[in-house]
């Protein structure tokens, strides 16, 4: 059952601008489909996010939210969701469909084809009135999106992470929040939103992924029939963002009525999927703050008892690194000193055998287990491909295993502290 073919997607061009990647596996009791439409992170972000929200409100044959929900229920609870991804300075709208494989259903009923047809209808054939989304529903969804954007503050970890980015990258598209800007909402109307839908739904490059106990050739033919329409006007997303140097470190403080402070640090290193010693940067971030054996968790939480959580995250398209920790407000300086000391230790190459060994083993196991996680595999494959790289899980595993302490220190020496953000009471 576990054959090498299991690990890879078979990729077929369906037509110019549309590709289908298939992973045929018996591990899933469902058939899973993901669609990725790639655009740019720019002034259109808010409008683009609003489009799937308007699409959810009704299709030609299922004109209401309720009709759609009931239709999906009757297909044995097929699930259909949309999402937004920010990959560096690209803005990706995704759709995810999952339906139970007929071989588990009474009488082996086939629901996948109906579910797939519905996915297409929802994206390409929405309910339109005189060629436009309904004004009342667009108004409601504008309102909902506004609330969604504003409710970022409800989750203090996420809020602090976004605020750090905004402070750190004021002149880069990367500053934009992937759900958009509430201030832009009033200017959007139903007709304009319908134009936005038309502009991207048939123009943006489309990557389709499917996984399940399916026959690849039959799937390719099925998808070619459903999504085989060529992209119009050959839209191409922007190229990779150029590196930006960190200037003098900026310190930003913000006050809210919180019980716990959030300390965020933003660094630039410039290493990306396509530039520099990528594998070394991944290991460096692992040793610094991805795991419970990592320097941040060990020193901020376990030794100093200062925090419940302290971790780092690597941004791999622009070459950034973020550190975030929830601390008592009075411990700001203490926590900052300990965090910066960990970064300095990395730069000196102060990496123990245990740290290196545990980090290698942890990544190795993560990648091995990724082979069972088709939703993540799809996204990883898509993101690598976006950067012009092909994702070969086994060779990536091998490359990570070969990274030495010296290469990690070399990558760490590229870290320049750009911004320190503190959310406090």
């Amino acid at each position: 059952m576990s054959s090498p073919a299991d690990l890879r997607f078979q990729r077929f061009p369906l037509c110019p601008g549309v590709h289908l990647s298939i992973n045929s596996t018996r591990k899933l009791k469902t058939v899973l489909v993901k669609l990725f439409f790639t655009g740019d992170l720019d002034g259109s972000v808010t409008r683009k996010v609003l489009v799937p929200m308007a699409l959810r409100r009704g299709t030609r044959n299922f004109p209401t939210l309720q009709a759609i929900a009931r239709h999906l229920e009757s297909l044995y609870g097929a699930s259909l969701a949309d999402g937004v991804l920010k990959i560096g300075e690209w803005h990706v709208i995704s759709f995810r469909l999952e339906a139970v494989n007929g071989r588990f259903l009474p009488g082996r009923q086939e629901v996948f084809q109906d579910a797939l047809r519905f996915l297409k209808e929802m994206i390409f054939d929405p309910f339109l009135e005189r060629g436009s989304f309904r004004a009342q529903e667009v108004a409601q969804e504008k309102h909902n999106l506004g609330r969604l954007i504003e409710s970022l503050v409800d989750d203090k970890d996420q809020y602090a992470a976004e605020r750090l980015i905004r402070e750190m990258c004021p002149d880069e598209p990367y500053r934009l929040y992937e759900y958009g800007d509430a201030a832009q909402l009033p200017a959007i109307d139903a007709a304009g939103l319908t134009r936005e839908w038309g502009a991207w739904v048939r123009a943006y490059p489309l990557e389709i992924y499917v996984a399940g106990d399916v026959e690849p050739v039959a799937m390719r033919d099925l998808f070619a029939g459903v999504f085989g329409e060529p992209r119009r006007n050959g839209f191409q997303p922007a190229g990779l963002p150029p590196p930006v140097a960190a200037g003098k470190t900026r310190f930003v403080e913000e006050r809210l009525a919180v019980n716990q402070g959030k300390l965020g640090l933003g660094f630039r290193h410039g290493i990306t999927y396509a530039r520099g010693d990528f594998e070394a940067a991944v290991l460096m971030n692992g040793i610094l703050g991805s795991f419970s054996h990592s320097k941040l968790f060990q020193n901020v939480r376990e030794k100093a008892s200062l925090a419940y959580d302290a971790h780092s995250a690597l941004e791999k398209t622009k070459g950034l690194l973020f550190i975030l920790s929830g601390i008592a407000v009075g411990n700001y300086q203490k926590a900052l000193d300990i965090i910066l000391a960990q970064v300095e230790a990395l730069k000196r190459g102060d990496i123990s055998e245990a740290e290196l060994g545990s980090t290698r083993e942890s990544f190795d196991n993560q990648l091995q287990m990724l082979k069972d996680n088709f939703s993540s595999l799809m996204e990883v494959d898509f993101v690598w491909r976006r950067h012009g790289q092909s994702f070969d899980l086994e060779s990536y595993r091998r490359r990570l295993r070969e990274v030495t302490g010296e290469r990690i220190a070399e990558a760490a020496r590229k870290l320049e502290l750009d911004t320190v953000y503190f959310l406090r009471n």
């Binding site: 009791k29 609870g77 409601q140 929830g326 091995q368 287990m369």
Partner: protein
């Protein structure tokens, strides 16, 4: 493997099986084979959670209370071994590990690709051989205090606990799982040890293993490794005391102001005298979830109306939870108008009780539940955690799908009639600061 009994539970619809053995100590071990999967996963769970705060343990003469938050504190304490923090030891093998304490259970888990038995040995060893070092206990207080403050900034959690504090007058479900900074300061090694002796007995625990492994090897390894205080099987007894909970609520409304963009509203209804195990527990749980889904899911008339009226957003949901003799419904989400939403929800609920359930809706929903349940079996974590949960309630997870298939419309209508007792009603509101 002498002295163990082995059963196999199979389900033809799901095309899954689970094998079962009991060690002489009383420890139950379950194994679910998953050919082809790279991930291997194990969880070791105790039927012990935050609600178990008043009990008479083995060899004790009187029920005595313990400080709030101690089950969760004990979970943290077990991570400290003489060889160092157990997460570091798992990390050396490349495994991911974690633990969680809920109202009624404590679970220790790991996932790994390679070196499964090294990790399984580690899991069994650290759960069965605790060390209560006073200085580590003191150190942990600082970390848990930050964990508590983190939750106090989480409006979702504050609103949820506010609802439970309002619905229940005496039942310990109204107390935060992590306790308070004050209650955890009263915790010491001795009290931790008392809780451990009482609840981490093999007869009160389940080890669940899932992955592409050899069945014999799994059971043999676990049987050899688990010392689990052999011979103690017959002497264990525990008396858990939950204070009698009246049908009336503590208060009708909880309100707090926090840094949120939009108010968060929950309407709750409590139930008392709820069966705590067996078929009755299961069919009640399923019928209640079914009823709530019928009334409030995205396909419902109520959601359609409330969403159109912009009284609710996409996060609107309804859930039911039963635990230690009580149960409760929580319905709500973000809203610009908590009072308006409450008024309309109460009117809608009164309407449901008059109208009942249409056959067409019932059949469609049954399909949705079946499909949703089958889909969950893609996840090793789901199988392990839910199998364990149902076993603690003297049920088999595979029974769920059969019970679902046989669920009658009358049972769901009974739930719609009796779920929403006016005297058991409370609301929780989180309002923005300004």
């Amino acid at each position: 493997m002498s002295g163990t009994v082995k059963n196999v539970f199979r389900n033809p619809t799901l095309q899954e099986e689970v094998q079962h053995a009991v060690l002489p100590s009383g420890l139950r071990i379950f194994f679910c084979p998953k050919p082809g999967f790279q991930k291997k996963y194990a969880c070791y769970s105790a039927y012990y959670g935050s609600v178990d705060r008043l009990f008479r343990g083995p060899g004790e003469s009187q029920p005595a209370p313990v400080p709030d938050g101690i089950a969760h504190f004990l979970e943290h304490t077990l991570f400290e071994t003489p060889q160092g923090n157990v997460s570091d030891l798992f990390s050396r093998n490349g495994a991911y590990n974690n633990a969680a304490t809920s109202f009624s259970t404590t679970t220790y888990l790991f996932a790994s690709g390679d070196r499964f038995y090294d990790n399984l040995g580690l899991l069994i060893d650290f759960v069965e051989n605790p060390v209560f070092q006073p200085e580590k206990v003191e150190k942990e207080k600082g970390i848990i205090e930050q964990e508590i403050y983190r939750y106090r900034d989480d409006p979702g959690w504050v609103g949820y606990m506010g609802l439970l504090e309002s619905l229940f007058q005496r039942h310990p479900i109204r107390i935060d799982i992590a306790g308070t900074p004050e209650s955890i300061r009263r915790i010491d090694s001795e009290t931790l040890h008392r809780c451990y002796r009482a609840f981490y007995h093999p007869r009160n625990m389940i080890l669940f293993v899932i992955g592409d492994l050899e069945s014999e090897a799994v059971f043999d390894f676990a049987a050899r490794r688990s010392k689990a205080r052999a011979g103690a099987a017959r002497s264990w007894e525990i008396e858990r005391s939950y204070p009698p909970e009246p049908a009336e609520v503590e208060r009708e409304r909880f309100e707090a102001r926090m840094e949120v963009a939009l108010p968060k509203f929950l309407l709750g209804f409590k139930e008392v005298g709820v069966p705590s195990s067996g078929r009755e527990f299961l069919s009640r749980e399923l019928a209640t979830e079914f009823a709530l889904d019928f009334l409030f899911s995205r396909a419902s008339d109520a959601f359609q109306e409330l969403y159109q009226a912009q009284l609710v957003l996409d996060d609107f949901s309804a859930s039911y939870h039963a635990c230690a003799g009580i149960g409760y419904v929580a319905v709500g989400g973000e809203t610009p108008d908590p009072e308006g939403l409450q008024r309309r929800l109460e009117e809608l609920i009164a309407g449901f009780r008059e109208r009942g359930l249409a056959t067409e809706d019932f059949e469609r929903q049954k399909r949705k539940f079946m499909g949703g349940f089958i889909r969950c079996f893609n996840s090793l974590e789901f199988i392990a955690s839910h199998y364990t949960y149902y076993r603690f309630h003297d049920l088999d997870l595979f029974e769920v799908i059969d019970t679902l298939a046989g669920l009658g419309k009358d049972l769901i209508e009974e739930r719609i009639q009796n779920l929403f007792s006016p005297q058991g009603k409370a609301a929780s509101v989180i309002l923005p600061k300004n």
